[in-house]
Symmetry: C2
Subunit: 252 residues, 2 copies
């Protein structure tokens, strides 16, 4: 038995990714750590789960205060399995990442990194998703360690509001200009399908920020050298349009 | 050339599912229809996409005002491919479903049916997800046809607010009591992992409505014989907690 916090870690780049190893080393400074992460890359798996498959796990490492499992499923499967099968007590914190590639704006909808954090949030466990805006598989994560530790310590101490998680993104810079709490930017991916033969396509494309002038968004923060912290809520109900719809649709 | 509306249809149960065939027949009454749907079941694929795969398509049927493609990707891949590869003009409406199984409460996070509609919404195309609370692969969809047509006609005529889609769920009843515009219920899936051998698991479980007494939720509507219409917004920012986080996290 221990009184140290229990911290569950997952990601969508797979258990061997550099980002999750850095995050694991950092979290060991704050508590006992269990890693349950996919056995390979699962980028853009969102909150998908694997109802048609058998999900297998393998214990890769066990030492004092650290267990590392790889799992054949998605990031969300990993968190479900940890919370409902592997752990004997509820974790105090779930962290996901550090993703290689940002998860700002609409990319939160596609992100397996955010998906793992959403799953924890649905189960009333405080959760943080960390992502770095990079295209590299090997990066220097040291500029972001202080914000990661500060955010994790804050959540361990204070918790988070019900049904809310934190989505943290970093720009790839040698020194952060600071940290901003900001909203998701409006944006969209463009030119996403590239022909790859007869009746065959590959995903590609670029992200377009639809409000580049707005200085209160996550994309603005990243574009200007700041870390962004965006609180994300589970409840996607568009309350502001409900009355109007009631008046218009239901009257036929 | 035609002046009829162009309606794109997808789902997550696959192109051969009964629900999408019923929806296709209904939508042919409103416009020209193109179906781009997965080649098999993709339940619980959320907004996942397939960045590591080649995505292939096959034209299954072409007749006046109707084209049907099957696609090797996820529901979201299907919508991306249609909007960015197959269609020569932007559709007037995207409809997804009719899903065999409800997509109310937190199930919107896992749903490929809703994922397809979210993708359309991100691309500024009005979208509706339709789902039936059933466990059957063969159902009588006739009790829901009137609400489906009424909702689709409304959206074709009026559009939807920016970055908002409609999530419509039906209870399995011979006669609907009516239709309610309602919010997502708070809820969670329980006991989701069943052991299936050494280090092997299968997804299972049951849904728990965390606020069964609240009469303004989608689950309440379904439990009481009503169709539910819930407006869902892309923007998941938890605005209500931003000020507090600014004050607390950033001061360290």
């Amino acid at each position: 038995m221990t009184n140290r916090p229990l911290i569950l870690i997952s990601n969508d780049d797979g258990v061997q990714a550099q980002g999750i190893k850095v995050l694991t080393a950092l979290m060991q400074g704050l508590g006992d750590v269990i890693v349950v992460a996919p056995d390979g890359p699962r980028s853009a798996s969102a909150c998908s789960i694997s109802p048609l498959s058998t999900i297998t796990i393998r214990l890769l490492m066990e030492e004092d205060g650290l267990k590392v499992y790889q799992c054949s499923g998605t990031p969300t499967d990993c968190v479900k399995l940890a919370l409902d099968g592997l752990l004997t007590r509820k974790p105090d914190l779930v962290v996901s990442g550090i993703n290689h590639g940002d998860n700002a704006s609409v990319s939160v909808q596609y992100s397996g990194t955010v998906g793992a954090a959403l799953e924890a949030c649905m189960k009333q466990v405080p959760a943080i998703a960390f992502s770095l805006k990079t295209k590299s598989l090997q990066c220097d994560f040291s500029p972001y360690e202080e914000v990661i530790m500060q955010t994790a310590r804050y959540v361990l101490e204070h918790g988070l509001p019900q049904d809310v998680l934190l989505n943290v993104n970093f720009p790839e810079v040698p020194v952060l200009k600071g940290t901003k709490v900001c909203r998701l930017s409006r944006g969209a991916w463009r030119k996403e399908m590239v022909e790859a033969g007869v009746n065959a396509y590959r995903l590609s494309g670029y992200f377009e920020n639809l409000e580049p002038e707005a200085d209160d968004t996550d994309y603005w923060a990243l574009d200007h050298g700041f870390a962004s912290i965006t609180p994300i809520q589970l409840d996607m109900t568009a309350y502001r349009v409900m009355e109007r719809l009631r008046g218009e649709i239901l009257k036929g």
